[in-house]
C-alpha cells in the first residue's frame, strides 16, 4: 500500500485545543440503542467498553502494519 501524501498539520496551540474539544465533546457518532449505556458522562452502569468505529478492512491493514517494523507510533486503542 502506498503512503498517502503528507498533509500539513496544525493541531497544536490554544485554538487547536478549543477546536478539538468542540468536536470530541459535541460531535461524533451517537449510537443510542439498547446496547449503549453511557455517552459523554451520562452513566448507567459500571462496566463497559469505550468504543470507536471503523471497518474490518481498516483493522486488517492496521494489524498488517503492526506486524511490520515499528515506526514509533502508538496504536493502542483508548
Amino acid at each position: 500500500m502506498s503512503e498517502p501524501e503528507p498533509v500539513p498539520s496544525c493541531t497544536t496551540g490554544e485554538i487547536a485545543v478549543a477546536d478539538l474539544l468542540d468536536r470530541v465533546l459535541h460531535k461524533g457518532l451517537v449510537l443510542w440503542g439498547e446496547a449503549t449505556i453511557s455517552v459523554a458522562g451520562v452513566d448507567l452502569v459500571y462496566l463497559g467498553l469505550k468504543v470507536l468505529l471503523t471497518s474490518t478492512d481498516t483493522v486488517n491493514r492496521m494489524r498488517e502494519a503492526a506486524a511490520s517494523p515499528p515506526d514509533g507510533r502508538n496504536h493502542h486503542a483508548g
Binding site: 451517537v30 449510537l31 440503542g33 459523554a40 458522562g41 481498516t58
Partner: protein, 205 residues
Amino acid sequence: MFVDACGLVCAASETLAATIPPDSAHVWRHQEVVGALMKGGPVLPLRFGTLTEDAAACRRLLTRHHDVLRAQLDRVRHCLEFALRVAGLPEMADPATGPMPRPAELGPGAAHLRTLARRERGWPSSTAEFPHDGLTAHAADRLLWARSPSQPDLRASFLVPRAYASSFLADVSALQHLRPDLGITVTGPWPPYSFSDPDLSGGAP
C-alpha cells in the same frame, strides 16, 4: 480490543469507570486513537465517552445499524476535517437604530454586549451564507456551527478529500492574506467528527 460484526469493527478498551471525564489527557488520548485508526482507513469517531455494557452489546449495535454505518464510512472515506474560525468581520451599522455610540461612551459591560450584537448582525446565519464560498472548491462538505454570545467566533467544519487537503489549505492561506481583517484561523486535519453524527436513536432502519 476489536469487536467485529457485519464487516465493521469497534476499536474498544475495557474500563471499570462509570464515566470518562472530558479532561485534557482523556480527550487527547481519544484523539490519538482515532488518528491512529485513520492511518489505515475511514473511521467514524464516536462521541467522546461512549460506553457499551460489554463486547456483545457493542456487536449488537454494529449488527443493528450496519447499513447506516457503512454508508457513513463511505461518506468520509479518504476525507479529513478542517476547522475554520473567523474571529472578526467589519462592524456593521444598524440602519434601524442609526449610528451606535462609540465603545468609549459606554460602560464596559454595555460595550461588550453591543460588540456582540454587532457581530450577530454582521455575520452569516446559515451555511448557505458562508461568506467565502471559494473555500468549498476543494471540500466535499461543510457545516457552520451555531453561534452564541459565549461562542462569538464564526466556526465552520470542512470535510476535505485527503488528495485536496493541500489545495484547501492553500486557499485558506490566500484568504488569510487577502482578508487579514477577518482573523481567520484553521486547525486540523481532524478525524471527521463533524460529519459522523447521524442520530441512530430511532431504532433499526
